[in-house]
């Protein structure tokens, strides 16, 4: 995100004097700023626009929040992956057609919580709770982890807190190539830089504002050669004519640039969405077709591809990873036990499920 894409900054009066606000405003010098008492006025402003979701990505709101760390809610009936989230920034400057934040966040500007002391306290007390296994925590749930990083320096702040916390793994998930600041500090083994990947065709048509596949893979390769572990998320996998060949090419490209030893994990998740999202998508992306596929309303109320098709998608990508000897890195995101079972039977070649489903957590 560059400064030109943000139109205006709103500052919550409660944090007006916070040093981080000054630092951020220095980086955004020249942009109009307004100190406000109520965020509702931003929402009202957005409601008067024809595209509140699009406009919300051009307004920055600096504020504070009470708590940051939450268990990832996953979805009822799915095999969870014991993930936790740090909801530091809310809303994302990238504009992916399938992003469920479009319906999940109502007229929410790009929101940065600047009360870092509170975050630090919360994380320190979180770290002090006894954990018997490695715990993954990520910042990419309600925003792209690195899209606003040049302004917020979230990553540097968090990495410092995670340093030497070996049982806690920080994952920063992005669709950008903005890792310059991360290449200036010492990489930590428990800090994972992760990229969401898709085919070039899908990136071009569905991921507005995101880096190209080559840019993402080049950044990931740079991160690996600098000493970071990386992760990849094939999510959402989209079914369209020619998908097999195109996903195959993405994975081949990936392994041409990065060896499997540098990869911590890879998730697979197919396109899914709550019913509310489709009306927003049809309005905002009228030329789009990915939401006009065959879907079923699944157990949690979300629309998903029919199970046999999802299994096909996962197995096919699993097969390609298998060919690169990297099938152990895979897990499924927000999938039912039934689909997991069908996937593992083939990919893990009938191996016992004692480590099911996350071998690296044991």
């Amino acid at each position: 995100m560059n400064q030109a894409e943000i139109n205006k900054v709103f500052i919550d009066r409660k944090v007006e004097k916070d040093p981080l606000v000054s630092r951020i405003m220095n980086k955004l010098a020249g942009l109009p700023a307004e100190v406000i008492d109520e965020s509702e006025m931003i929402r009202q402003k957005l409601r008067l626009t024809l595209d509140p979701v699009g406009e919300s990505k051009r307004l920055l709101f600096l504020t504070e929040q009470k708590s940051f760390v939450r268990p990832c809610p996953c979805t009822p009936g799915c095999v969870g992956c014991h993930y936790w989230t740090i909801d530091l920034d809310i809303n994302c400057p990238l504009d992916c057609s399938y992003c469920l934040l479009q319906s999940y966040l109502e007229e929410q500007p790009l929101t940065i919580s600047v009360n870092r002391d509170a975050l630090k306290q919360e994380l320190v007390s979180f770290f002090e709770q006894e954990r018997s296994q490695l715990l993954r925590i990520g910042t990419g749930e309600l925003s792209d982890s690195l899209a606003l990083d040049e302004i917020t320096e979230d990553s540097l702040f968090l990495i410092e807190l995670f340093r030497a916390r070996r049982n806690f793994c920080l994952e920063m998930k992005t669709k950008t190539a903005r890792i310059d600041s991360l290449l200036k500090i010492k990489p930590e083994p428990n800090v994972i830089l992760a990229w969401s990947l898709n085919t070039e065709r899908m990136i071009e048509s569905e991921e507005r504002g995101a880096a190209s596949l080559d840019e993402r893979l080049t950044a990931a390769a740079k991160a690996v050669s600098y000493g970071y572990q990386v992760a990849f998320h094939f999510d959402p996998i989209i079914h369209y004519p020619g998908w097999q060949g195109e996903y195959q090419r993405v994975i081949e490209k990936l392994f041409r640039k990065i060896s499997k030893e540098g990869i911590a994990w890879v998730s697979l998740g197919s396109l899914r969405f709550p019913p509310d999202l489709i009306k927003v998508v049809r309005r905002r992306f009228p030329g789009g077709v990915i939401f006009e596929h065959e879907f079923v309303r699944s157990w949690d109320g979300k629309f998903r591809y029919p199970r046999p098709l999802r299994v096909k998608l996962y197995k096919e990508l699993g097969r390609i990873f298998f060919d690169f000897g990297a099938e152990e890195k895979l897990y499924l995101c927000m999938e039912s036990t039934e689909v997991w079972r069908a996937f593992l039977e083939k990919i893990k070649r009938g191996r016992p499920l004692s480590t099911f489903p996350f071998p690296w957590l044991t």
Partner: protein, 321 residues
């Protein structure tokens, strides 16, 4: 305001500037008028030397239909602006009338035509109408208010905003075609038909006319002309199949297999028709231990033929592309 009785033909009913309700007098309403005439005065205002009806359209139409010649009116001071007068008509109805989406769209149109600003419309009127207070909703309602032919159906079937929004995304000539196909259907079926046609159009990259000319749908439309309700259900079923071909195909195969089973009459086989689950459900209805034993034995005997295996394979089958 002045209360008096006037001849109905003194009111210029051609001037409908304040009308936004779509209700027509029904049989009960007419019977009431026949019994006791119109008791509650309608509201009128003088405009350009004629009397314009502000509220009470249903009563006036009922009175005309019952052959009344005069009715009580409350005459609003003519120095009230059109906006003030319409607000009066609107809020009078608001307190005792559940507006349909069509009526809400007409109310918003009137407020807008009479000069109420966009911010006020969005922040105040849309909230009052219990609609999302956004510019987008406003645009949809203004567009909807121009759909002359569709408005009576939208009113009658009590459409929701999301259905109207999707309907408006079709070009005008396609909207007419849709109306001709589903005017008699229930609201849910109308909504579903719009959804299905929308999806098919996008998926096939064809216009609606080309889609309804496809053989399966075209043959259904022929029946449509003869027996509408039945044909509409058939059309819906064809469209569902077109939009969900994989699940339909697999379910048909499974159903076919199940039909070949020779199970006792008190056993019912079922499965999840979304295919999210790949297991079978057996419902056994028995009323004694003996009956249970016999039924289980029959089920066990049926395991000897290969049908069960085939059924489980179908439920767990992998698709090939």
């Amino acid at each position: 305001m002045i209360l008096r009785k006037i001849q109905i033909d003194e009111i210029n009913l051609e001037d409908r500037r304040f009308r936004f309700t779509c209700g027509q007098p029904d049989e009960k309403f007419l019977r009431s008028i026949k019994e006791i005439s119109v008791v509650e005065p309608v509201k009128i205002i003088k405009r350009e030397a004629s009397l314009v009806l502000v509220s009470g359209w249903k009563r006036v139409e009922g009175a005309i239909s019952c052959g009344l010649e005069e009715l009580p009116v409350l005459e609003i001071p003519e120095n009230l602006s059109d906006l003030e007068t319409f607000a009066l008509a609107f809020f009078e109805n608001y307190s005792h009338h559940q507006f349909s989406l069509a009526e809400k769209s007409l109310a918003v149109r009137r407020f807008s035509d009479f000069g109420l600003g966009q911010t006020e419309l969005i922040s105040r009127i849309l909230r009052i109408l219990e609609l999302p207070p956004t510019r987008h909703t406003l645009e949809v309602l203004l567009d909807l208010s121009r759909q002359g032919k569709a408005l009576p159906i939208i009113h009658l079937k009590d459409w929701k905003l999301i259905t109207a929004e999707l309907f408006l995304s079709f070009p005008e000539e396609e909207r007419f075609l849709l109306l001709s196909l589903f005017s008699d259907l229930s609201q849910n079926k109308q909504k579903e038909m719009i959804e299905l046609f929308y999806s098919l159009k996008k998926r096939k990259g064809k216009n609606l006319k080309a889609i309804v000319e496809e053989p399966a749908i075209a043959s259904c439309l022929e029946i449509f002309k003869k027996n509408k309700p039945e044909a509409a259900d058939k059309l819906l079923s064809i469209l569902r199949k077109e939009v969900s071909p994989l699940v339909h195909r697999l379910c048909e195969e499974i159903d076919r297999e199940i039909r070949q089973f020779k199970l006792p009459n008190n056993v019912r086989l079922d499965y999840d028709r979304t295919l999210e689950k790949s297991n079978l459900t057996l419902e056994v209805m028995v009323s004694s231990q003996e009956e249970l034993r016999e039924t289980v034995t029959e089920i066990l005997n049926s395991l000897a033929d290969g049908n069960w295996q085939r059924l489980f394979e179908l439920l767990q089958q992998e698709i090939e592309e």
